[in-house]
């Protein structure tokens, strides 16, 4: 590179990644709204989930309808470690993500050669299997009542400083840091040569094979990566709720993350899934608090978006056409 690449301040300021980080960082200080710190934390966690999921849906074009399972497996793996093995933060968290990623990788091996309808059907059926395991294996998973009493421990360096994560705002910023790092990592992944191959598979898998790529291996990697971020989000969610419930594994929950991605326009823009997840969680929380049958409106909205604005909000704003996945 012959020109010194030093981004100017203005370029940094208009960078969406910076804007999103700044927006989330000042959120707790917004008068009246900032008191919803728990909802804010949930929004960031779902943004992380949706962003990771979009590696698979938006960039590789693979419609998984059972990703709630990997979110839930991460959640349960953390919960089980915490309840049965070790009281702490880092080890349960790392084990949760590791177990979630490994199981996703295992399922991915079976799914890597599938596409389209077969792929979608199988993801649904697998998620249902994991749901039943969580629901029935009382001794380990707590069955219907789930696992409770999963506390957030303090982090810090002994003798120097300590941050009590059980305080809402501290945990909010902890999640925010994880989110920002993940956002940067995911951005790098989808903009790398590896990410380009994923997009090539989305556009035309057969042609990508003929060029010489082992598309099954790339699809497997994409599936596993999305599972990694799903289980990370699941772990953070379990710590937010201090409990894990079998509902997180139910297949209807998997529809939520697909909806978020489509709603915001994750298929036309990297930041779409973040926008979608934020709107989705806020809208759902507000609506369900004053209307018992809010699902009627939610389901109808779902239908209207699919039929009339499949490119999502960012798709309308940027006037872009949907990508291959939406042809």
């Amino acid at each position: 590179m012959d020109v010194a690449v030093r981004p100017r301040y203005r370029e940094i300021l208009v960078n969406p990644m910076f804007l999103i980080t700044a927006l989330f960082a000042v959120f707790p200080f917004v008068p009246y709204i900032g008191k919803f710190i728990s909802m804010g934390t949930a929004v960031i966690i779902w943004c992380l989930f949706a962003m990771g999921f979009n590696i698979l849906l938006g960039y590789t074009g693979l419609p998984s309808f059972g990703h709630g399972a990997y979110f839930g497996i991460g959640a349960y793996a953390l919960g089980i470690t915490f309840k049965h093995l070790i009281h702490g933060l880092w080890i349960p968290l790392i084990l949760g993500v590791l177990v979630g990623t490994l199981i996703t990788a295992g399922v991915g091996l079976l799914l890597a050669k599938k596409r389209g309808i077969y792929f979608a059907l199988l993801t649904i059926a697998f998620s249902q299997m994991f749901y039943f395991i969580a629901f029935r294996w009382d001794e380990v998973t707590g069955g219907e009542t789930g696992l409770s009493g999963i506390d957030r421990m303090a982090i810090g360096i002994p003798g120097l400083f300590s941050i009590d994560l059980s305080v809402g705002i501290n945990y909010y910023y902890f999640v925010l840091v994880v989110f920002v790092v993940s956002m940067w990592v995911i951005w790098r992944i989808v903009h790398s040569p590896f990410g380009r191959v994923l997009q090539a598979i989305r556009e035309n898998e057969v042609r990508t094979q003929y060029v010489g790529y082992n598309t099954a291996a790339y699809k497997w990697a994409s599936f596993t990566l999305s599972g990694l971020f799903a289980s990370l989000a699941g772990c953070l969610h379990v710590l937010l709720q201090n409990a894990a419930f079998p509902e997180v594994l139910e297949w209807t929950k998997s529809g939520d993350v697909v909806m978020m991605t489509l709603l915001g326009g994750g298929l036309v823009n990297f930041y779409g899934s973040i926008l979608g997840a934020s709107i989705f969680i806020i809208f759902r929380d507000l609506l369900s608090s004053f209307w018992e049958n809010w699902l009627l409106l939610y389901g109808s909205l779902f239908v209207l978006i699919i039929l009339f604005v499949p490119t999502g909000i960012l798709g309308i704003l940027t006037q872009k056409k949907g990508r291959a996945v939406l042809k």
Partner: protein, 286 residues
């Protein structure tokens, strides 16, 4: 031994009902390439319509009217929504019907309330019958007989009528069928109505042995997925065999982990024969 036999018979009866549900599901999937998430909720509507009609018009009329109404719902759903997404990615049909199912389930809660209801079997088929080796519920036998009859009727329709030929051809190559001057859009509407009516009739006849609840649709949708994956997408015999496998495998060993057995079977079949037991390579599996 006797216990085993009664479990086996129960499994076959349940399996036949599952087969009827999966048949409608696989028909819609095979012809339209739409994973119909609303299939389960149509099953539930069958049961609810029957619940409301049964006390006024009697069993048989309630059965016919309820199935017909669910068929009409299917046609409306196809005309108003699904018709618009045929040429697009399968994800669209899946999401669309997912949203429809969610809204319709909530509609059931608004109309019929959250708590469950129950209906009783009519007098002429209540009680038990002596099968020689054991006593068995008359209603369950009736259930099996009616399911088998429906399966035969669908088979005759697909194999012996011109409509059936167009449907099967449409599943293979829709462009060619249209080029031959057949009205494919109308055939698709018909198939959707038929598939919906099959779900509805299954809901009606299952109503007396289940409690009628808003979530009942969700509970039959998953078996339909597994049956279709196990049997092979778009295959008539696949859904019958898959339905029986599902019914028997969940009835033979009653216990906590029974629900998981079909999913393990599914995984095994996937590893050994990815297209499903009766699946043909040409349909949908790329």
């Amino acid at each position: 031994m006797e216990l085993f036999l009664s479990y086996l018979v129960n499994g076959i009866v349940n399996g036949l009902v599952y087969a009827v549900i999966a048949l409608g599901f696989t028909l819609i999937l095979g012809v339209m390439q739409v994973i119909n998430f609303a299939h389960g909720i149509l099953f539930a509507f069958g049961a609810y319509f029957f619940f409301s009609l049964n006390r006024y018009v009697g069993f048989w009329l309630a059965l016919v009217i309820s199935s017909f109404l669910v068929g009409v719902m299917g046609i409306l759903i196809e005309r108003l929504a699904i018709r618009r997404v045929y040429t697009k990615n399968p994800l669209f049909g899946l999401l669309l019907t997912f949203g429809i199912a969610m809204a319709l389930e909530e509609m059931i809660r608004m109309v019929w309330g959250k708590p469950g209801h129950s209906v009783t079997a009519p007098d002429f088929i209540s009680g038990v019958v002596d099968l020689g080796i054991m006593y068995y519920s008359k209603y369950r036998l009736f259930l099996a007989g009616l399911s088998a009859l429906l399966i035969v009727l669908v088979w005759l329709f697909l194999e012996k009528t011109p409509h059936g030929a167009i449907i099967k051809a449409g599943a293979q190559d829709s462009e060619m069928v249209m080029a031959l001057g057949k009205n494919l859009p109308r055939v698709r509407t018909l198939v959707f109505g038929l598939g919906a009516a099959l779900a509805g009739v299954a809901g009606v006849i299952a109503a007396p042995i289940h409690s009628i609840r808003p979530v009942m649709g969700t509970y039959v949708l998953m078996p339909a997925f597994v049956i279709v994956v196990v049997g092979g997408i778009g295959s008539f015999w696949g859904s019958i065999i898959g339905g029986l496998i599902f019914g028997i495998s969940t009835s033979l060993y009653p216990g906590r982990f029974t629900d998981i057995i079909p999913y393990f079977l599914m995984t095994l079949i996937l590893l050994w024969r990815p297209r499903g037991l009766m699946g043909e390579k040409s349909i949908l599996e790329v």
